[in-house]
């Protein structure tokens, strides 16, 4: 669906060239929810904006449905943008228009529908995001979550194939964030819409993304299925984020103090293995104690996972073999 080839972008900042994108290449498939995560200033916002050319890359290609959008003329670009919805952190609603008026706005810009058809489409969208009761209110009368629902409805008005979310939940409280993420998931599965979102929150990626790319200093340092990237981070930037997030097991100082007996293994369970009594079975089979030193069990989108650090006294190869036979990934950890 989307293919980015060798994107570069630099800005002048205080007279110096600041590299926002440094040789970025990515492929995003039709119908997936793709997350781009990074710290502020990492270049994720610039990257998202190259997809609808709100930011034009200095060099490189942006292919959407096999079309190089950097080659479009002004009219072609406007047509493309009408086919790409965008949702913003600060909602960016028109304050002089009501909820219904805001949702109607992109329909008016496109000018494809009659007024009656526009009203019907607005009603559908109000229904979809659950704001039929609020349609005559102005944005200043809405809560943050309601404003973002308007933003989402507006982005969907022209039946886009692609939805771009720019930190769509970063200005919302945790509970509202959950409801907006649920709405995005629902839209993705019901409409088959491709969603590209940028965020600095691991929780957002874990909750709804299929795949993730980690961006650091303008480079994609790691990408792949979310469980793969978060449970086995290979780049330092990812490891730091995972460690701060605290959901995947990493040995902190306290863990190390008590880990002076036995050898340490990091065990990763995904899908069905997560709910199997693997550790007690292996312990009984080999007749040895297994200490759980640290760990977490949770869910990445719909995939259950567990990651534990265990201490083992005994034959490590035998333990590894028994665990791996049960679908558990084992890595040795230096004590």
């Amino acid at each position: 669906m989307i293919s980015l080839h060798h994107l570069y972008k630099t800005y002048p900042v205080n007279g110096q060239a600041y590299t926002a994108l440094n040789d970025v290449s990515l492929d995003i498939a039709q119908g997936e929810i793709f997350g781009i995560i990074g710290r502020s200033g990492a270049g994720k916002s610039t990257l998202l904006r190259t997809l609808n050319l709100l930011e034009r890359p200095d060099s490189g290609q942006v292919l959407i449905a096999d079309q190089d959008v950097t080659a479009l003329d002004a009219a072609g670009l406007r047509g493309l943008r009408q086919q790409i919805g965008m949702v913003f952190q600060h909602f960016n609603l028109l304050s002089h228009r009501t909820v219904a008026g805001n949702i109607r706005f992109p329909l008016e810009l496109a000018g494809q529908l009659s007024p009656v058809e526009m009203d019907a489409r607005v009603d559908e969208l109000l229904e979809l995001v659950g704001l039929s009761q609020q349609q005559a209110q102005y944005p200043s009368q809405l809560s943050g979550g309601q404003k973002q629902r308007v933003g989402i409805a507006r982005a969907l008005a022209n039946h886009p194939k692609l939805l771009l979310c720019d930190e769509a939940t970063s200005a919302l409280d945790p509970q509202t964030t959950q409801s907006i993420l649920a709405l995005l998931r629902d839209i993705n599965s019901r409409l088959g819409l491709t969603i590209v979102l940028i965020t600095h929150e691991m929780a957002v990626v874990r909750a709804i993304c299929d795949r993730v790319a980690v961006i650091d200093h303008g480079r994609i340092v790691e990408h792949g299925p979310v469980a793969e990237v978060f449970l086995h981070p290979s780049h330092e930037a990812t490891r730091n984020m995972v460690a701060e997030d605290g959901h995947a097991a990493a040995l902190d100082h306290a863990g190390r103090l008590y880990a002076n007996i036995g050898q340490l293994l990091r065990l990763t369970f995904v899908d069905d293995a997560t709910y199997e009594p693997v550790l007690s079975e292996v312990g009984r089979e080999l007749d040895l104690p297994i200490r759980i030193l640290q760990g977490s069990v949770g869910r990445i989108k719909d995939r259950p996972y567990g990651q534990l650090i265990v201490g083992i006294d005994g034959e490590l190869p035998a333990v590894r073999a028994a665990l791996e036979a049960r679908g558990v990934r084992c890595e040795e950890v230096a004590a």
């Binding site: 943008r81 600060h90 002089h96 810009l109």
Partner: protein
């Protein structure tokens, strides 16, 4: 002189003068908005980081606007006489006052328009671009409606300024309340006329400000 002799006042003169002031105000405000609004929009669009950002064009336009604004209105009245004669056929009276009033007020109004547009959230403009809006759509359906309260406030300030300019146009025989105040109240020592014209101007400015504030409140959705 103890006490005023109100019988000295020719109320018909006051009436005519009031009407003249209102005519000058109405016509010049109309033309000021007609010229100043596009000028202000253009200034805004050409300014740095905006949709038509162009350093040279912005600097040139800003220079012209500043030059016009730096001329005291009394001087502008006189400097413009040849232009005024070309435009309206006379340099005196109500008609002769209108071109200098517009030339004096339009650049001022344009700057206020530019400032009002700057208050519009950049994110809203970006969102409109992301929806595929044309430049005209952004100006007509986003910038101007979003800035409406600010634009109404700018029009009110400009109207009040125009009232004081109309008084100065008495210098070239512009007519109106200011003219009356200068000719009778100042030059002929008829303090009664001065008092009445001052009160009339005061009332006019108050009404304009109250009306403008009311419109701004009605238009505000924030």
């Amino acid at each position: 002189m103890n006490g005023f002799d109100w019988n000295l006042i020719d109320w018909a003169d006051i009436g005519t003068a009031s009407l003249d002031t209102l005519t000058m105000l109405g016509v010049s405000l109309g033309f000021t908005i007609l010229l100043g609004l596009p000028l202000g929009v253009l200034l805004f669009l050409l300014s740095p980081r905006q949709l038509l950002a162009n350093r040279a064009a912005y600097a040139t336009l800003a220079f012209v606007v500043n030059a016009l604004r730096s001329l005291p209105f009394v001087i502008l009245l006189i400097v413009l006489i040849p232009v005024t004669v070309k435009l309206v056929g006379t340099s005196i009276g109500v008609a002769g006052a209108i071109p200098p009033l517009v030339v004096g007020a339009a650049p001022f109004f344009a700057r206020l328009v530019e400032a009002a547009l700057r208050e519009v959230d950049r994110g809203v403009v970006e969102a409109s671009q992301a929806m595929g809006a044309t430049l005209w759509q952004i100006v007509g359906r986003v910038l101007l409606p979003e800035a409406l309260p600010g634009l109404l406030a700018a029009s009110t300030v400009t109207a009040v300024t125009l009232v004081s300019y109309t008084a100065m146009s008495g210098v070239i025989g512009g007519g109106g309340l200011g003219d009356l105040a200068i000719r009778y109240g100042y030059q002929r020592f008829q303090t009664e006329v001065m008092v009445v014209t001052v009160l009339a101007l005061l009332a006019l400015v108050q009404l304009l400000q109250m009306g403008g504030d009311w419109l701004v409140r009605r238009a505000t959705r924030k």
